[in-house]
């Protein structure tokens, strides 16, 4: 080796500095930096230094491609935005030039330099240091090949709300098997509880039930209601999912769904799920008439037979002998290639805001209660009445943002409550002629035909009071308040405190993550946001994927949204999965961690750390192992292994240290080690 080769290790590196319009060039002297790279880093292997307006444009990418061919580059450094945004772009360009894509490294001189500095001279120097680090690092890069895993054709969908139904039908209609797991006795989710849907006011059941029955009879869909997922093992393309089918005490093969059992069942139970406490069901029940499947289940905890040892009325009257009190939970395992989590939302518990009186003042209702009340099949046969069940209200107050946009509860906007409140205003107006007040902070009606609906409700004469309601009380102070609920509010448009007496108050409660969302996320190896909604791989560009390959999310489980958005996500998740099934196998990013067996001591420090459950301990060899198909290359275990026995491809010690050394080469004067005293 000549002296120069010793420094460059024979490398030929191209450095490309992006202007990003003025994003970078406005702060960093990009021309100077690219020239400097070529001159000053020449003895470290840099043979090309160029700057370009937009490196991510076709022309920018071609620059890389052509230089690899013409200049014989063997490594590429792109100083531009961030790997998160454009690593793939530049890796692809590198590959088109004939190099392994992983021989390209990005220096983030936008997010980490131009966007965070104002002093041009210092920013320019820092950009140089970043490039110096990238140059040293890229020399340590190795050619990598993606892993290929075959994709099992079947898909698991968890949650049979409209999101899960949509996904299931899309995939099943394309000819592929689907397992749909729903924890309740019927699919349908929240949408099955509504009467009308905004903004078109079409009947919820009329648009939902055809989809539900299609699922029920679809030859490609195995419907597993009254079931829950217990365990998920494996990885994209090859998950083994353990499902518990809860004992229903009904033999579905024999049951005709005639309903005699629940007519004869003597045990009335307050239905706090489907009827949100407004109505009753029996101990043997289907949640609603159009339930899919049609088979009832016995609610073990409330059944007289299980409680007292005698009754069995259902069994006696069942014409087909479909009741089986010996039924037991059944645990099955299914193999699937992909998973959709469509577990939806829970409604905010309005008792948490005691000053609004829910649970204390009889005529304060939640939004879901009101939905059930307006439903023709609901507990009041669709009549809007006070808690006494007979009196129609003459005035109704609808409170927006209950538990939403409130620092004490949820900072976010629940997105549907404005429209839902407007829907309620319309229904009250239409069915009772009562005077309606909507108490709002802002009206948010951004989707198709939403604002038109708002105009319509305005025209109908609904009163709008802008301000957050302070209190709902029955303590009358002024004439005309007796026997009423008084809504105390600061009207911020009128600039005054107001007390508005009404007969009925409806609280438009927030949508919240399922109470068990965190456990569900952990079970499936995905993450939740601080609020508890499932986290997307990318909030804008990959909203139905997660950081765990093969696990997709749709509907309200990812955040509050209306039915159109929920359905779109159900379809989107299905589309992503269909393309995986179509491909037959999947190429996975080769950035993965591996345990170097001879260095691992089996200390087990790493065992519980992997967020994707990729690490297991082999008691026989006393070593820990990483399942590379599960590993996402997050680096947690690499940092934690005390023996340094885990190495991350793309993040090896050599690479990281070379990068640090490169960074420091420019900025720190070498300090003499301790001069004699």
């Amino acid at each position: 080796m000549t002296g120069e080769e010793a420094q460059t290790n024979g490398h030929r590196i191209g450095v490309y500095v992006c202007h990003c319009g003025t994003n970078i060039a406005g702060v960093v002297d990009v021309e100077h930096v690219s020239e400097w790279a070529k001159d000053a880093l020449g003895d470290r292997g840099v043979v090309v230094g160029k700057d370009y307006k937009f490196m991510c444009s076709d022309l920018g990418q071609e620059l890389i491609q052509k230089d690899i061919e013409r200049e014989g580059l063997d490594r590429v450094v792109v100083a531009a935005c961030s790997p998160h945004l454009h690593e793939k772009t530049f890796r692809n360009a590198t590959e088109r030039g004939g190099l392994n894509p992983y021989l390209c490294e990005m220096a983030s001189i936008r997010e980490q330099v131009s966007w965070v500095h104002t002093n041009k001279a210092i920013a320019t120097e820092k950009a140089k240091a970043m490039i110096s680090g990238a140059v040293e690092r890229v020399k340590e890069h190795e050619s990598l090949e993606p892993f290929r895993v075959p994709i099992e054709e079947a898909t698991l969908i968890v949650g049979g709300g409209i999101a899960g139904i949509q996904s299931a039908l899309e995939i099943a209609n394309a000819g592929h098997p689907v397992y749909l797991v729903e924890r309740e006795p019927s699919i349908g989710g929240h949408m099955a509880q509504f009467d009308k849907t905004f903004p078109t006011l079409d009947c919820s059941a009329c648009i939902l039930t055809p989809r539900m029955s299609e699922v029920g009879v679809h030859p490609n869909i195995e419907l597993l209601t009254w079931s829950e997922v217990e365990k998920v093992e494996g990885y994209v393309g090859n998950f083994a999912v353990t499902i518990r089918k809860k004992a229903s005490y009904v033999i579905n093969e024999d049951c005709t769904g005639c309903g005699i059992c629940w007519q004869k069942c003597p045990k009335k139970v307050i239905d706090d799920k489907f009827e949100v406490g407004l109505g009753y069901r029996k101990a043997i029940y289907t949640p609603f008439e159009q339930a899919v499947p049609k088979y009832p289940v016995i609610d073990h905890d409330n059944c007289t037979y299980f409680e007292k040892g005698s009754c069995k009325a259902c069994e006696k009257f069942c014409p087909t002998e479909a009741i089986n009190f010996e039924d037991e939970d059944e645990v099955i395992t299914v193999n699937v290639g992909n998973i959709v989590l469509a577990t939806g939302y829970d409604l905010f518990d309005a008792r948490r805001i005691p000053q609004y009186g829910y649970g204390r003042l009889a005529n304060v209702f939640t939004s879901l209660e009101f939905e059930r009340m307006t439903n023709a099949a609901g507990p009041t046969d669709g009549d809007i009445v006070l808690r006494d069940g007979v009196t129609a209200p003459k005035s109704v107050g609808i409170v927006h943002c209950v538990g939403s946009r409130d620092r004490n509860f949820n900072n976010y906007c629940s997105s549907i409550c404005c429209m839902q409140s407007l829907k309620f205003a319309h229904l009250v107006h239409e069915r009772t002629g009562a005077e309606v007040f909507n108490f709002y902070i802002d009206i948010r009606t951004p989707a198709k035909e939403y604002d038109e609906f708002y105009q319509r409700v305005l025209d109908e004469g609904t009163r709008f009071v802008r301000g957050r309601v302070a209190e709902v009380t029955d303590a009358a102070r002024l004439p005309g308040e007796e026997g009423k609920l008084i809504v105390q509010v600061e009207d911020t448009l009128a600039g005054q405190q107001r007390r508005i007496p009404v007969d009925m108050v409806i609280l438009s409660a927030a949508l919240e993550p399922r109470t068990d969302a965190y456990e569900t996320a952990k079970k499936f190896g995905i993450a939740c946001s601080a609020n508890g909604w499932f986290t997307e791989k990318h909030p804008k560009l990959d909203p139905v994927a997660t950081m765990t390959e093969g696990v997709f999310i749709a509907g309200c489980s990812t955040g509050p949204k209306d039915i159109p958005a929920t359905v779109s996500q159900g379809s989107a998740a299905a589309a992503r999965i269909l393309s995986y099934i179509e491909m037959g196998e999947l190429a996975l990013e080769p950035v993965r961690a591996t345990v170097i067996a001879e260095q691992c001591s089996g200390c087990r420090i790493c065992n519980d750390l992997c967020p994707f459950n990729a690490i297991s301990y082999d008691a026989e060899t006393e070593l820990s192992e990483i399942n590379i198909a599960l590993c996402q290359g997050c680096g947690t275990c690499v940092a934690a292994c005390p023996a340094g026995a885990i190495t991350g491809t793309g993040f090896s010690n050599e690479q990281v240290l070379a990068q640090i050394e490169g960074l420091l080469m420019l900025n720190v004067e070498p300090q003499p080690v301790a001069e004699p005293a």
């Binding site: 170097i596 001879e598 260095q599 691992c600 001591s601 089996g602 200390c603 087990r604 420090i605 065992n607 519980d608 750390l609 301990y617 947690t636 940092a639 934690a640 292994c641 005390p642 023996a643 340094g644 026995a645 190495t647 010690n653 240290l657 300090q671 080690v673 301790a674 001069e675 004699p676 005293a677």
Partner: protein
């Protein structure tokens, strides 16, 4: 080669306690193998020798030098450089030469503080407050002693090193194994390992040799060994909340300390894949603390009363930190 045809051997003691020298003598009758195969050219602890004899040797005249101790003063450095020149194979022997060891912990303190502790604290009988002088005039002339450096450096921070044998001190069976290997090379029966090899260690860590049972680690509390009423003799010490450095320490000692019920102090130095020993241990221990509550985590960490002394007891001088900030800036002298 010497006149008797035997290759020359040297051993030297720089800034260290001397345990390494004893460890070599402690190989008992196997020391005769050393004598049978080498001529001891320079070994101040074992036989009389003068620096000038070494200075007079030809470059590379000594085949093998075991150098123990760190470089703390001018004399240490001078001899390190001299032995480097005169030896074909220079071996950093023992923890001090390898990674600084206990003397390296002094790098956390400026020199005034060291002198203060050494000459003026209760443990020293020094009523007149005398401090050593580098130069002192006496009627016969000027006496000098070697000047002290502001920090301790490891051997390879001063000269080029061929091989490393860690341990405080290295275990006898490992020393014997290395001697056997060198003799095999002399007889032409084996080849030298690649330069830079760490000899006398295994590929994994102390845990690999430790027979204690271990489970998934979850630490709720740290306790110091003297505060533990009963140590479970079977279960991993770390799982009992006793900070054991076994997970990051190179195997080779046969896990003597944990076997005896004491946590591994880390004297065998960083395992193969470990660059900064203390940082590694801290990252590992932090990742298995079993709490999500910041206050509880703080309370658990408060159980680690001496982080520098626990995590960097042997490795501070050779860590990425090298030295304490004050000394690095030259303020230490």
């Amino acid at each position: 080669m010497s006149e008797n045809g035997k290759p020359k051997f040297a051993m030297y003691w720089a800034a260290s306690c001397g345990g390494c020298e004893i460890a070599v003598l402690n190989i008992h009758e196997r020391i005769l193998d050393v004598d049978a195969n080498f001529e001891v050219a320079f070994w101040p602890v074992a036989m009389d020798a003068k620096y000038k004899d070494v200075e007079a040797m030809q470059d590379g005249e000594i085949l093998l030098t075991l150098f123990n101790g760190g470089i703390r003063n001018e004399e240490n450095e001078h001899i390190a450089k001299l032995l480097r020149k005169k030896s074909q194979l220079l071996v950093a022997f023992g923890s001090c030469a390898n990674e600084g060891c206990i003397p390296g912990l002094a790098n956390l303190s400026p020199m005034e503080a060291l002198f203060e502790t050494a000459y003026h604290t209760a443990s020293t009988e020094n009523p007149e407050g005398i401090l050593p002088q580098y130069e002192y005039d006496v009627p016969e002339g000027t006496i000098t002693i070697p000047t002290m450096y502001p920090v301790l450096r490891t051997l390879d921070q001063v000269v080029d090193v061929d091989y490393y044998i860690p341990g405080c001190p290295p275990e006898s069976h490992q020393i014997e194994a290395v001697i056997d290997a060198v003799i095999a090379v002399l007889k032409g029966e084996a080849e030298l390992p690649p330069k830079g090899t760490v000899l006398g260690v295994g590929t994994s860590t102390v845990c690999d040799e430790c027979s204690r049972k271990r489970d998934v680690k979850k630490i709720k509390q740290f306790v110091r060994i003297q505060d533990v009423e009963r140590i479970d003799p079977e279960i991993c010490l770390l799982e009992q909340g006793i900070l054991c450095n076994g997970p990051a320490t190179a195997s080779g000692c046969t896990a003597l300390c944990p076997a005896a019920g004491a946590p591994c102090a880390g004297c065998y130095g960083p395992a193969n894949g470990v660059i900064d020993y203390g940082a590694r241990m801290m990252a590992s221990v932090a990742s298995v603390i079993d709490s999500r509550d910041p206050d509880e985590i703080d309370a658990i960490l408060d159980g680690l009363v001496d982080p520098a002394g626990s995590f960097y007891r042997f490795n501070l001088a050779h860590s990425l930190l090298h030295t304490g900030q004050a000394s690095w800036n030259g303020k230490g002298s």
